[in-house]
Assembly symmetry: C4
Homo-oligomer: 189 residues x 4
Amino acid sequence: MTACSPWPSRSWCWRSRCPPGAEDDLLGALLDQWPSYLAYVVSFATVGALWLGHTAITHYLHGASPLLLRLNLLLLLVVAFLPFPTRLLAETVEHDEGGNVATTFYGLTLLAASGLTSIIWRYAVRTGLVRPDVSNAEVAVISQKLTPGLVFYVVMIGLGLLAPVVAVLGYLAIAVFYLVPIRSLRRRT
Amino acid sequence: MTACSPWPSRSWCWRSRCPPGAEDDLLGALLDQWPSYLAYVVSFATVGALWLGHTAITHYLHGASPLLLRLNLLLLLVVAFLPFPTRLLAETVEHDEGGNVATTFYGLTLLAASGLTSIIWRYAVRTGLVRPDVSNAEVAVISQKLTPGLVFYVVMIGLGLLAPVVAVLGYLAIAVFYLVPIRSLRRRT
Amino acid sequence: MTACSPWPSRSWCWRSRCPPGAEDDLLGALLDQWPSYLAYVVSFATVGALWLGHTAITHYLHGASPLLLRLNLLLLLVVAFLPFPTRLLAETVEHDEGGNVATTFYGLTLLAASGLTSIIWRYAVRTGLVRPDVSNAEVAVISQKLTPGLVFYVVMIGLGLLAPVVAVLGYLAIAVFYLVPIRSLRRRT
Amino acid sequence: MTACSPWPSRSWCWRSRCPPGAEDDLLGALLDQWPSYLAYVVSFATVGALWLGHTAITHYLHGASPLLLRLNLLLLLVVAFLPFPTRLLAETVEHDEGGNVATTFYGLTLLAASGLTSIIWRYAVRTGLVRPDVSNAEVAVISQKLTPGLVFYVVMIGLGLLAPVVAVLGYLAIAVFYLVPIRSLRRRT
């Protein structure tokens, strides 16, 4: 098996710490990789929430300006980068050394993606790209929904320097918060 | 060749057991990897069946609720996770040790995906998201089609602890069963 | 560099034979990998030709039957499998041992994809899925275009057992032949 | 950790040079990989610019000819190839040996993609595929926008043989230049 090292490590071990003798105790090896599953779920939930938010935003616009397209590309650049900090997090979140660096790096990427989504929405509102039939109340509800997540990300990034695993659970909580439908807009989103 | 280990192992050896001297007997090495081909076909057939089922379901709906979108994201999370248990299965299904763990892990993933598809359909029926022109008989036919697969998955997961290869063939049989068109709905699906 | 073996080998060496000292002569190492570039171009051209053919076929249909959807899934299964024989070809086409096995394996995959495309078209014609406004002459032109490629694939698969590189160039020729537009249908495809 | 070599090297080290003891100083290891981030941003910006240019071009066409579809496939072939020179660049741009080869190889790929985009546009103009309601002035503005980038790519490819990092920054500048919206066409792109 050592002759073909990449494959076993790739599928049996998502993270760097691969206990010797993993073949004999595959169940233990799979359970031992909980950081990989956690990182996968957090990143998936965050991208899912960003996608829902992005769909809601574009639903309210009647057109796009050239700058909006460029901001959108910037958001895509950050989201396409996410797998790298996700893997880094999965490998190191348990470790004393490196775990806090990886969690901070991961949190900054999530903050960048959420911040860009918020910027795209605010830019669209200010430059009159929102459909005229959308009421000011609806615009305010969406703007309010986008703000607390950003504040919470900053708090979690700070916390991640001390307690990485807690911060990751916090990132999951933010994604779940974003995923909860907005009650007053229910019929439209 | 040892200097560049990843590539040969990646393409010559889909699984962990890479017989020494595979270069001299490439045909034998390719044939020896039947678990990889089997796992690929079973996963592909299952995803194909899920996709057809999902298409049929959305075809019968006149709209989506916020919760339906979230259930859909959950289904996507499970389907996007499938390559990991598929590789694990391909590597270990033949082995005495680990083969049953990998097969159970694989079966649970398939059960989760099928179960979520069934939940999405039942949720849509109960909350009135099905188009009004769809008859109750048609709704019942689809509901009936989705149930036996779930029962069979549970049986196969139990069997997989004893005879992994048989269980994998059972998973293939379920996918093929799902892929057979529903006769009474033929003109619509 | 040996500490991080996967990355260098992944990007510097597409194939298994990675000359020692590749870092010092990167240009030579890049040129030495011509089988990888050739395999990439042949597979890309074949998938491109299949895609154009598939687009032309669906353009002529007024609907899909359940069986057509399943045949389509089968074609997708083969096309999604293509990267594996492509890499195998890139690694071994130069070698005395294994080169002919890899070329045959590759050719059989291309034959399966082309054959399924042809079967999909013939099935659509026979079951009346072609739009009524399409003349018999047009149907005949497409059917004729799809046949010679299959014969040529069979010939090349045989030749590949003796002269792998010649067969690969033959596969490229077939893809180019498919890519040449049909003159009498020019305005529609 | 050596037992599972691929994962750590994959996520901790994007490039070939992975300093020993990277686990102890993850922050330093991450910062040390600036060529990977630079290469990612340059490739992403270039593909983004090509995508915007391509969207603008297809927006001005009223149809496609068979040859246009083939030119489009050729562009896709080059863009799909880009990840390979990007990784090569990330690994070697700092090195004395190989850095200039990788930068030239990368620049030639970017030049091919930009050149093909320009050829597609000129071909569409000459064969009358541009919508009749588009004024000659608008056509001229787009043609002018596409040309200087090509000249600049040739200059940078030459410069890359001497100063690879400067050339990469030049490639970034070209992508940013392409990404700046055309003022006189603003309402349409």
